[in-house]
Subunit: 218 residues, 2 copies
């Protein structure tokens, strides 16, 4: 009975977080209200509130829920790939395709919420900042993994992995914002082209490593 | 007397827009309220409201006010430079320096407000979308101007001017968002480095135009 109650509570939390994520895509995370969620779900406000305890805890739960869904949608399909530039490229292509997916409106949840909370200190901003750092670390890790695979050594990889990681994440996030604002699919094509060009240059440099000086354009 | 009244009205509108811009840097443009502005300025709510007539008109006025200030702060210093890559580079450097300027907190107003309003159809979003398009057009125009100056012809310039314009604007806007969220000055350095590398490649290609095939990395 206790297990069943726990499972039901978890299921209700999930339904609330789902509805909150849909609402946040339109009104922003701060615009999600307990009253609005209660109306959408046919629950009492007290019922919604009881599952989280505070507005901030609800917002953090929505961030975690969004992350879980992105893990499934974007990282799931690439989970078989080893760390490296091809995996990073596949992730960025999937991210850009996802922005235009009508089933997940609002573009990149984390980019939008990050912009919304960047001047609001607290648990929500801290979590979003941690996720932003984790994108950079993921991209830089894949760049270093490709470098190590080429050189056969366990060194730290190219000194500019953090630089390139910033660039490709920046292009993808800016494309999400511009697509939302302008509704112009060409910004996604441009971001994809720029990301491909940047990663192509890295792969060419890795392929040439040891046999020629580094490509100054890479 | 009528002139003086008009001037006073204009001055009051400007004071209100100034205060609204400061408030928007913290609470977002949608979070700016007539009541909050009235308290800040020691005016009545009706007094504030009378100068704009609607919340949307107030928000559009804040966007115009932000644009006017950016024109002075970022475009003023480069107004002597002719259109071209050096002017675009100077603008982007100034934009990135401005993000870290403590006198203008909140990063790029237009990037933040664009993210906030991208799912809210109306006059505010339309204006912000127009401004976003104007950044791309400005950057692409400067890229084409440099190309024309090299080739001496009035042709359309490099076919990828729109592509490069998207990239450099994307890097700058993403840097504004990341700096606000993470408070990490290195994202500004990374954006500056990426912008310089991209514009260097373009300038090298322009310099080589006619004497060698286009650099495939540019």
């Amino acid at each position: 009975m206790t297990d069943r109650r726990l499972a039901q509570g978890e299921e209700t939390r999930r339904r609330i977080a789902d509805a909150a994520l849909v609402a946040a895509a339109v009104d922003g995370l701060e615009g999600v209200t307990v009253g609005g969620l209660a109306r959408t779900l046919g629950m009492s406000k007290a019922g919604v509130f009881a599952h989280f305890g505070s507005k901030e805890a609800l917002q953090v739960a929505v961030v975690e829920h969004a992350l879980e869904r992105v893990q499934g949608r974007l990282f799931g399909p690439i989970s078989e790939l080893p760390p490296g530039v091809p995996r990073l490229r596949a992730f960025l292509h999937a991210y850009l395709a996802d922005i235009a997916d009508e089933e997940t409106p609002g573009g990149c949840f984390f980019t939008a919420a990050g912009s919304e909370f960047d001047r609001r200190p607290g648990a929500v901003r801290d979590r979003l900042a941690g996720i932003q750092r984790s994108w950079y670390a993921f991209a830089a890790g894949d760049l270093r993994a490709s470098q190590r695979a080429r050189s056969g050594s366990a060194d730290e990889g190219p000194p500019d992995a953090d630089q390139v990681a910033f660039e490709v994440v920046a292009l993808a996030q800016a494309a999400s914002l511009a697509y939302q604002l302008l509704g112009a699919p060409e910004v996604l094509d441009r971001a994809r082209h720029a990301v491909d060009r940047r990663l192509d240059a890295i792969e060419q440099r890795h392929a040439a490593a040891g046999s020629a000086p580094a490509d100054p354009a890479a």
